[in-house]
Subunit: 597 residues, 2 copies
């Protein structure tokens, strides 16, 4: 008989959260999140009299510090005319709710929080595409949810779905509302009552198992809160999308999200072991807390990427890891994007991947430089000048060509040493120059600032968006070149005054390819319908992407924004199969957000 | 404008294969593969007059070498009574075929090879569960396919499915026929004509892209042929299940297969980028040669694990890797299974994983020793004795407790050095003793020999099988202990004379758990219905597994063997969703093998 004594199981049942938030955020999201833009209410970029730009509030490391180079960069490199003005409207209009009386009677007393407040209804009816933000600032959302119900448990989710089925009410699920695919946009023609199911109270971490390194987590938890709670047990989930402060586990699952440090922690499909979802056909609850299973088609994978079309995802078993011993930023300068790309490709082939490694093009590099806060001392100012001289004059980097690779190393001391050695060896081969931790950190900070900057730019009649794709290595050049070319053509065709701002980042490496992330924006002065103009250009860019071997999306998903490309991506039979699966799971189309197909 | 010059694309279109096989195997599988057992016809274990055991033929490294310790081990440790005899029948009976005349007229002239040969029909109607082999040796398969059609292209697959739909013929797909779940077993009550679709002629590698590191491969290719062909281009797929000599890419996809070196190359879901499958609803063909995509639910994952229930998988884009610079075996002795398990657990936590690392229990360790061929010289014989003395007397390893971890290191020189250092450091902490490459290699050789040994044992009224599970780390002890206990109980209850042979191996590590692989066998002398007896015991063992947190299967799959456990594994809603998906994709149940649910 085998007798084995492994270490005692270490299951922890955290007491924290259970509907509360860290940072003592008020329960009412509109008290701390903007109603017509990204992020914290107290945080925005403002242009000051002396031409400096400052990030207000106190939420970020660089908050309240003056950035003197920003104005020049915005005007000269991006083409933002800071003399223009375009304020947002004070009130956002919304139509009166459609009420299903029978349904309202049935839910009476069953849920702690139900809201018909206009502000809440609007908040729960949009994501963060440029089009939606523009509508919030200057127009009106064509259709908004009629009511918001806040759930705090799986049982409440089941009840709500049951009643929605019974009284034919449409449900739409709200996590962090950070999607950029019109996923939350309500179908204009929907005449049933639309109820938004807010999951943010359902954010408890039910258990943490430090033997198996798994945790059971409710899907309403935001990334930031999740990591704060897990850190109390010395563990980490490690999923860090740019929206991590606000997006939720449920949202990540619904969209097949990807995080900055996927090299170490995996993408969402690697992190999830099993999901629980309330569908109109019943609750899908598999006993699947196994590392890996062969039990037929993987139903988790129907839920992953379902984008709110089949049910309310209530909880998931996720993998966790020990907090890394070492965590450090680094950066490497390359003479140009071509060399940087070669480096990224060879790094992918070496399979020695830091937790995060990204290549930003010259535009984005200069963007990072523009976000530099003022030096705190004459010495710092002097050192900046010396470094600049050294790089441009001595090392002969062309300031209008040079690019930056930003790196995050995480792991044990030995692991990190091993990775550093390989990375810098390879960088040297491509004439890379180590540019230090601060540049690396600033590169990552930039990505958290982008959405705030987009809001800032909108004040000056400048609209911008990001989009992304995954593509095999050999198509990386063609995709970048053709996106650039096509955007410039389309802007010119439509009478956009100045040359558009287009910037590329290789934001993830894989064995067989890379993720390309694009920022694109233009000043719309003189353009009659800026949103329409923008949308057409973005669609044209996606055309180029797909023509040149890029995917419909790497991680943003499809929503309604990219539905028209689905047939090309998955074929007629694929679309038909998805349609039938949806129809089988949700025959009355209760989850009628019309995402995907 | 960005100008990037990456290395020229390196796409190769191999001329090889296209229906031919390496080793000049005859087209007729029955000329080189056994008709009632595992593997090559010329390869079997035989007991010789002098008590030695020899593997006939010339296919393996240890072929034709005498093993003197085998007899003693088999009799004393396993309980095989080598005085008994139980020859297989000479002819395997088969019922006349059911012919659908209209269908036969429709396919006339459309396919190069169609067979009504009894031997071919039987071959295409079974896998390699003990029950099926027993039936082949002593009984009759209740229902066999009526006809075998050999396809050699995607177009032929489409034609066959179209005609099957038109004339209501059941199709069953045959790759290597190595499943161990009754997947190929024809439903007894099936009255439609059953056609086996043999994919082995559809084995071409269509292109190899050494820039993206992908390849397009037809699904009829066996693992061995695939690697041989890829090696000509300096690349490797790296998927190495124990059945790699005979199983096919299509089979791996259908069953969610796992390979020995998944730590380096991934399991099948990590290797596949996209699949093409002919279903009754149409051909699912997604443009998905991207490293990673968010385009809704991942339809690849409906095909992976579909176990032949939805269509004919014809081709797939797979990832390939450069051939490793270094490839070496190693092994480490541990005093007992508990210490070995602790080591495996800690290794999983360190995340420094060799390409393969396995822990075998004492039973399997002694099994490996029994397969040692005779020393080739007196010096070798002497060294064996010295080593044995050293291990047992000096290092004080108990020969009836000690276990072995077998390792394969693959990678660059630096990678392997790094892994070796970590692995041996950790081993030392658990009092492990480096036992050299030969023991490691023999451990892996054993797994290729198992099925041949099972056939050997059947001659002596001894039946055996393997089964496996995946389980979270903390449940590993409980699963092993309870499997052992329950098997012994159930054998005793049923009058099995001697104590059954039960042996465990931790064959894969994951972040959150492990794969446990079990060999189980007993002598059935005096048992009236040995197959029924065996099945009941195996079901009881699976009960214990699931009760103690183990999965329905790690990689063998479900087939018909484990259908009764599906509801427990994926829940009622899960079963219902699978049922509806099947019904939607294949409404006439053309792919009527009745696997999964």
């Amino acid at each position: 008989m085998i007798r084995i004594q492994l270490l005692q199981s270490q299951i922890v049942e955290p007491a924290g959260l259970k509907g509360q938030y860290y940072e003592q955020r008020p329960q009412n999201k509109l008290e701390w999140f903007k109603n017509n833009g990204w992020g914290y209410r107290d945080t925005k970029f403002i242009l000051e009299q002396d031409g400096g730009v400052r990030l207000t509030g106190n939420k970020y490391r660089f908050s309240n510090q003056k950035m003197m180079k920003f104005k020049e960069w915005a005007e000269q490199k991006v083409g933002i005319d800071l003399s223009l003005n375009c304020e947002a409207q004070n009130e956002i209009p919304g139509d009166p709710p459609i009420i299903n009386e029978q349904f309202m009677n049935a839910i009476k007393g069953q849920f702690n929080e139900i809201s018909f407040d206009n502000g809440q209804r609007i908040l729960h009816s949009h994501g963060h595409t440029m089009q939606e933000i523009y509508e919030l600032r200057h127009g009106k959302l064509a259709r908004i949810v009629d009511c918001v119900v806040f759930i705090n448990s799986h049982a409440q989710a089941e009840l709500l779905v049951k009643l929605a089925m019974e009284y034919n009410v449409m449900l739409t699920v709200y996590g962090g509302g950070t999607n950029v695919t019109w996923a939350l946009q309500c179908p204009k023609e929907e005449r049933r009552m639309i109820v938004s199911v807010d999951t943010s109270r359902m954010n408890h971490i039910r258990w943490v198992d430090r033997k198996n390194m798994t945790a059971l987590v409710e899907t309403g938890v935001t990334g930031k809160d999740l990591e704060k709670e897990l850190s109390r047990y010395g563990v980490v989930c490690g999923h860090e999308p740019d929206s991590v402060e606000f997006s939720t586990l449920g949202g990540w699952i619904s969209t097949r999200a990807s995080g900055m440090k996927k090299n170490r922690y995996g993408n969402i499909e690697d992190i999830i072991l099993s999901v629980k979802v309330v569908t109109p056909t019943g609750t899908l609850s598999q006993s699947l807390d196994y590392p890996r299973v062969s039990s037929g088609p993987d139903l988790n994978q129907i839920v992953l990427g379902s984008e709110g079309t089949i049910g309310i995802i209530t909880e998931a078993v996720i993998k966790i890891k020990a907090q890394p011993e070492v965590c450090k930023y680094e950066s490497i300068l390359f003479h140009n994007f071509a060399l940087g790309t070669e480096f990224m490709y060879k790094l992918s082939r070496s399979r020695v991947w830091p937790a995060s490694v990204r290549l930003v093009d010259n535009n984005q590099f200069q963007f990072g430089m523009a976000l530099k806060t003022m030096p705190h001392s004459k010495r710092e100012e002097f050192m900046d000048k010396v470094k600049k001289y050294f790089i441009t004059q001595y090392m002969q980097y062309d300031p209008d060509q040079m690019c930056l690779v930003t790196v995050v190393f995480e792991g044990t001391k030995q692991e990190v040493e091993f990775q550093e050695k390989k990375v810098f060896e390879l960088a040297k081969f491509y004439k890379g120059f180590r540019a230090g931790a601060e540049n690396g950190e600033r590169g990552y900070f930039l990505t958290y600032m982008i959405a705030y900057l987009r809001d800032f730019a909108m004040q000056f009649q400048f609209i911008a968006e990001s989009f992304e794709t995954a593509v095999g290595w050999k198509n990386v050049p063609a995709v970048c070149e053709n996106i650039q070319r096509r955007i410039v053509e389309e802007c010119s065709k439509r009478g956009v005054e100045k040359e558009p701002f287009v910037s590329f980042r290789i934001s993830q490496v894989y064995d067989t390819g890379a993720t390309i992330y694009v920022y694109f924006g233009f000043g719309y002065k003189g353009i009659e319908d800026p949103v329409k103009c923008y949308s057409e250009i973005e669609d044209a860019a996606r055309e180029e992407i797909m023509k040149n071997g890029g995917s419909i999306s790497h991680h943003h998903g499809v929503g309604k924004l990219r539905k028209q490309f689905m047939q090309r991506q998955i074929g007629d039979t694929g679309v038909e199969i998805l349609r039938r699966i949806k129809q089988q799971i949700d025959p009355k189309n209760i989850f009628g957000n019309q995402n995907l197909i």
